[in-house]
């Protein structure tokens, strides 16, 4: 084994949260090393026009994603089943290179609702403990919204988020989300203009009595220089956004917001093609001594470090903790243990909305986030759940992110899947269809968790992560309820036909259908080492010189996209590292 010179801080995985950690720690002058398993990637030469506009390569074959041939996960529906590998991409997609999934995300940038962060306390108080089914094990984050607000803002100003404030210092503002928590400052940029599908949706939603607003977007609405002095250009709604890199410097990513500055810091080093396999511990098991990785030549390398930041994405964070033996693995039979606990996902439904030929939707005009309208009336606890008997909710989304024909072409119900009938329907409807969808939360449950698979291995011979997951009744009810609200809006849009994808009781989790890459939990944060793996600063309770960033810290999932909250939690964590931990290394919260 090769042994490298020690560094002060090693960052494992260099995507969204690894980059934030890097830049926020760089001014300490400490020696920082980021290890990234993938390649270096930058707007030029990697995402340039016209090569980025290739649906087959990026959207379908997944050029930018983690090659599943080398490493995947296994999936089963129940604790008693045998898991099988996720052999082809479907349900979720993993990032793989410098920038991580931050390269090929949509840029839908949300804050959590205040009650999302204290969900267990909030639900108990408003509806009583009994409102939650026995096997639901939702928890508070250990961080309240007001405390997190400055960090949520910091991430929005890094990204140049385009949106309309709905609650400025407690004052409800027209055109924004009236249900959001109070923000101290408006969004750094005005909202992106609506695409036509979104406009039709918003008009209908208003007529029904709901409160549509433009989706907060990290596709910039205008040129923007962020606090690091890095510039973004305006988005042109190219329609090749999610699953693609941005050729316009318009989508916030580590490349467009942080790397131009961070890469020049003399005390920062990035090593690509460095796949970390383990966080090493000393003989006490209470202190990390660094990490082991496999380099481009396939050699094992030991990298000593005083502080280890694990920012390899939710699934990989959980796997690394399990492979390294940090924290007690979760046991679904006893409910004890923390690593792998509370895996959760999201539940979507969608409605295809088909108009006559005089309605020109032009579906190919779309940004990953911008140009879409949202109704948040039925998300989080924005409405009285009492009569409905479920926890959580969904936002309703109107418009489209693009009209890429292999993936995004939709046809009316009753259309055959091939032949002359399919072809005619594709031709007649393509330009005249849009989508209304719901984007819903999933709670955490005793029998939904992550551990190491006993059979299947990655290219290095290490066990794959195993997902045990299926839907619970609470989520079917949630999805049914919010989808009915979405259907009211669609009816008001007066289309000639609609199609519906809704997950109903009896439908198992289907890994063939893409829903979201918003997988959560497994290294959750919270108030006590008995119930969580990390404290509120994302520091391991067990090994205090290990911090773990990303959605693995979420004790259950939200109805929102996660990265706004992930970014906020990362900024809160890194501030505590910089201002407290580095001065006196040790636990930031006493167990």
């Amino acid at each position: 084994m090769i042994r490298m010179k020690p560094v002060d801080i090693v960052i494992v995985g260099f995507g969204w949260t690894g980059a934030i950690m890097g830049i926020e720690l760089a001014d300490t002058g400490l020696k920082i090393l980021a290890l990234e398993r993938g390649a270096y990637r930058d707007t030029s030469p990697d995402f340039v026009y016209p090569h980025n506009a290739d649906e087959l390569a990026y959207g379908i074959r997944g050029e930018l994603f983690q090659p599943l041939a080398r490493e995947t996960v296994t999936v089963r529906h129940a604790v008693s089943d045998t898991a099988v590998p996720y052999r082809q991409y479907g349900s979720f997609l993993f990032g793989n290179n410098v920038g991580g999934a931050g390269i090929h995300w949509n840029g839908q940038h949300y804050r959590p609702s205040p009650e999302d962060l204290e969900i267990h306390s909030h639900i108990s108080k408003r509806y009583g403990q009994k409102f939650m089914p026995d096997d639901m094990q939702i928890q508070d984050y250990g961080v309240a919204y007001d405390e997190l607000e400055p960090y949520l803002e910091q991430f929005e100003y890094l990204c140049g988020t385009s949106g309309t404030a709905g609650n400025l210092n407690g004052e409800i503002k027209p055109g924004g989300n009236p249900f959001e928590g109070a923000r101290k400052k408006p969004y750094p940029n005005p909202a992106v203009a609506d695409t036509y599908g979104a406009k039709l949706f918003a008009d209908a939603a208003r007529a029904v009595g709901y409160h549509p607003f433009p989706q907060p977007s990290d596709n910039a609405s205008r040129p923007y220089t962020n606090p690091h002095g890095v510039r973004l250009g305006p988005c042109n709604l190219c329609g090749y956004c999610e699953r693609f890199g941005c050729f316009m410097y318009s989508k916030a990513s580590p490349q467009t917001t942080i790397l131009p500055v961070l890469m020049r810091k003399p005390n920062f080093e990035l090593r690509t093609h460095s796949h970390v396999t383990k966080i090493n511990l000393d003989s006490s098991g209470k202190r990390a001594t660094g990490v082991t990785y496999i380099d481009a030549q396939g050699q094992q390398v030991e990298q000593p470090a005083d502080l280890v930041i694990v920012s390899a994405f939710q699934m990989h964070n959980v796997r690394l903790m399990l492979l390294s033996g940090i924290g007690t693995p979760y046991d679904p039979n006893t409910g004890k243990g923390v690593i792998g606990k509370n895996y959760a996902y999201q539940m979507m439904s969608s409605i295809g909305v088909f108009f006559d030929k005089d309605v020109a939707i032009n579906p190919f005009i779309g940004g990953g986030a911008g140009g879409v309208q949202i109704v948040d009336d039925f998300n989080a606890d924005h409405f009285d759940h009492g009569p409905h008997g479920f926890v959580g909710g969904a936002y309703i989304y109107g418009g489209q992110t693009g009209g890429r024909p292999i993936q995004q072409l939709i046809v009316p119900p009753g259309t055959p899947s091939w032949g002359a009938g399919w072809k005619k329907a594709a031709k007649d409807n393509y330009l005249h269809a849009t989508t209304v969808a719901t984007h819903g939360s999933v709670m955490s449950y005793r029998d939904r968790y992550l551990d190491l698979d006993p059979t299947y291995k990655d290219a290095f011979g290490l066990p794959l992560l195993r997902i045990t997951f299926d839907w619970h009744d609470n989520e079917y009810k949630m999805s049914q309820f919010v989808t009915e609200r979405a259907q009211e809006i669609v009816k008001q849009m007066n289309p000639k036909a609609t199609s519906l994808t809704l997950r109903k009781p009896g439908d198992h989790y289907d890994i063939r259908q893409y829903q979201t890459t918003h997988t959560t939990g497994g290294v959750i944060q919270g108030a006590s080492p008995d119930s969580s793996a990390l404290n509120r600063f994302q520091q391991s309770w067990d090994v205090s010189n290990v911090f773990v960033t990303g959605a693995s810290a979420f004790p259950q999932n939200l109805g929102y996209n996660p990265t706004g909250l992930i970014g906020g939690l990362t900024y809160m964590s890194v501030k505590a590292i910089r201002e407290t931990y580095l001065k006196q290394p040790g636990p930031l919260v006493q167990a």
Binding site: V48, A53, R61, R87, Q88, T195, R231, P405, A420
Partner: protein, 242 residues
């Protein structure tokens, strides 16, 4: 600090060139454009190109594929069929790519092919193997049932067999027919709609048919004109214009 041009020179040149080539059609509906463009404006280089010789598929396999995709997306007045769009060529070229070799999939065993369909593809076959085995088995079955290979059967009979395959109603020894059909249909639509540089979607015919502008990827001026038909025809990555 880093002040970057929001648009690279090559992109600007590319767009300028392609916009110059677009006739002043901004007041015409998309249907009208599709009509004017699908006929005479075709790039002759492609139309007159030499006939493609398959590299992976054998002659009988090639016959099967042409006969099958011709039914999946038939040629008619609505637009090009899969055969004239070059879908068989696309399929053959994909078989030579990492994708065809299963290089993009996790292919370690054990394989549990009778897992619930909701857990996704669990066969041991790469796309190349699935096509090879599937086509041989179906041709065999056709020979036994109808005394002819699939490609020699009339269109309505081919349609009926494809429906049976889709529903998994034909049982073959090694190959689950629904999985084979789903692979074939998915790849056929990919070839039909992917950029022409992959061998299908010849002359961007499928894009013209539906009104998709291909690799234009520049709509800043159009989002503020909601409901107006977008006037420009497609461009492709290698610079084909219409």
């Amino acid at each position: 600090m880093s002040s970057k041009q929001p648009s690279s020179p090559s992109r600007r040149d590319f767009l300028r060139q392609s916009l110059v080539a677009v006739p002043a059609v901004s007041l015409m509906g998309t249907a009208a454009i599709a009509q004017t463009q699908s006929g005479t404006a075709a790039t002759p280089a492609v139309a007159a190109g030499p006939k493609y010789t398959p590299r992976y598929f054998t002659a009988p396999e090639w016959d099967f594929l042409e006969a099958a995709v011709d039914r999946l997306i038939p040629s008619n007045e609505d637009g090009p069929g899969a055969v004239e769009a070059g879908v068989p060529e696309f399929l053959d070229r994909q078989m030579e790519a990492a994708y065809g070799h299963g290089g993009l999939w996790y292919m370690q065993g054990p394989f549990v092919p009778d897992s619930p369909p909701t857990l996704g593809y669990q066969l041991r076959y790469t796309p190349r193997e699935l096509y090879r085995k599937g086509i041989a088995a179906i041709d065999d079955w056709c020979q036994k049932q109808h005394n002819q290979k699939f490609a020699a059967l009339p269109a309505d009979q081919r349609d009926a067999i494809l429906h049976q395959l889709e529903k998994g109603e034909i049982k073959l020894d090694d190959v689950p027919t629904a999985a084979f059909f789903s692979q074939l249909l998915t790849n056929t639509k990919e070839g039909y709609f992917a950029d022409p540089m992959y061998g299908g979607n010849k002359q961007m015919g499928a894009w013209k048919m539906i009104g998709f502008p291909g690799a234009r990827a520049d709509f800043a001026d159009w989002v503020e004109q909601p409901g107006k038909v977008y006037p420009f025809g497609p461009v492709s990555i290698e610079g084909a214009k219409s």
